[in-house]
Symmetry: C2
DNA sequence: CGCTAGCTTGAAACCGGTCAACTTTTGTGG
DNA sequence: CCACAAAAGTTGACCGGTTTCAAGCTAGCG
């Protein structure tokens, strides 16, 4: 289950309550023009849980599935351990992004989720959401869309790309996702280790190090520890193009 | 759109109509104990289309999305062309399997689908299905499950596995899926070329050839053109284990 | 037939992994 | 605040699996 480190259901603040701005559902539902009573119904299904400390698990592989969640602040990494005991990182989730969607079919989480920094989540009880969705077609629609999106995402890194292409795609993707959140797209801090990046991109940690160096030597980026500055976004995007399919 | 090579809506044959046995929805809905009138509602959303000839496209990347489909007979390959113009095969679909699920979020098909042999499909209008799902929670549930399943599948080949592991996983997967359909699991015919397999497994066609030979020399399988016989299922499964995560 | 697409085989090059040594950073307790 | 240990990151040398390139083979079909 989604471990409630410190459950803090949001208070209903009268008529002018507002959705948690990070939640993927809020925008969609507001757009659909639902009346307030319906919005309130959705609203009460949401609870904010956390903060989770760095390294703290949100759920583990095999845990019974009962809720999906949106990252409200912080970063989450999902991973599984492969046959050799090595970690396979499946994804990094920034504020506004949903975790747990792949658990629906099995009724169990198929992977582990861990906070990479202090993290707060919005938790949605899935059964309740599904029930509500039968009465709110817009919500059902949005849920279908979210699920379908993730199918496409997973295919991204499945191709056989070079280390450079993978890394470029990784940086461009992060940059864009930060931009959506209102953060500067050319300057951000990595919340994951080099090893995490390597396990995500299916490279050796040493390769990640080498590519970072080469990118810096070529003037594409500036790297200082976890601090990244993208100096030539265009060039990086060109490298990433084949992976991101544009 | 799903091109109707020769639309053949199934006739409503009175009280004892039956679902197309390959459709993923029928079993779920029957289990859920819906009454006949509701089943009939679902029934009329289904139409059989085809046959599509070998090489004929079912939909193309960018086509407007309006329906998902289940393979009724035959085999379908989905693919995209990457930046270098090379084909990236995303999946092979056997009878009973659903295609088009990843199109929901974009309202456009994100890939091409082509028949590898004479193929007949069950077509489901997605908007109609979604509308019906609001009145049939079991159907909604099933749709969520199908979507969620596909998220997990895509991650399968994302790891960095050896050519042997990939090929073993591919053969084991095919074997099991044929078995479910009632075909002998140790003896089947590949409906795709070596190049297709290579593009799916992210290997060079030459590597596919070499692995087949090695597997045969080691007594794991017998290969004759497209005919495959699995001689040592256990050994093959052992090889595939790391990919299939068991 | 003979053409073509699909397939196989061999040799060489290369990318990224592994191993090993080292440096830097982080965190902890005295 | 410093000392020390552990974790994270970097760098170089070497190795091996896959790809690439090139050539030839085979089956299927006009």
């Amino acid at each position: 289950m989604l471990r409630s480190a410190r459950p803090t259901p949001i208070a209903d603040d009268g008529d002018d309550f507002h959705f948690c701005s990070t939640c993927a559902f809020s925008a969609a539902c507001l757009e659909s023009g639902y009346d307030k009573s319906q919005l309130r119904e959705l609203h009460v299904l949401v609870e904010h849980i956390g903060p989770f400390a760095e390294g703290e698990h949100i759920f583990r592989e095999g845990d019974a599935f009962n809720a999906i969640a949106a990252v409200r602040s912080g970063t989450v990494k999902t991973y599984v351990n492969d046959a050799n005991g090595r970690e396979q990182v499946q994804g990094f989730f920034l504020p506004g992004e949903m975790i747990g969607l792949s658990a629906i079919s099995q009724a169990r989480y198929p992977c582990n989720a861990v906070a990479l920094e202090p993290t707060v989540l919005c938790r949605f009880s899935f059964p309740s959401m599904a029930a509500l969705a039968t009465r709110m077609p817009g919500l059902q629609q949005q849920m279908f869309r979210l699920l379908s999106q993730d199918i496409g995402k997973a295919a991204l890194l499945a191709g056989n790309y070079t280390a450079d292409e993978r890394m470029a795609a990784f940086l461009v993707s992060l940059s864009r996702r930060y931009a959506v959140r209102g953060f500067p797209p050319t300057r951000f801090t990595l919340s994951m280790t080099r090893t995490d990046i390597a396990n995500y991109l299916r490279l050796a940690a040493e390769s990640v190090s080498r590519v970072f160096r080469r990118f810096q030597d070529d003037g594409l980026i500036r790297v200082d520890r976890r601090e990244i500055e993208i100096l030539q976004p265009r060039a990086l995007e060109a490298l990433a193009r084949s992976v991101l399919r544009e």
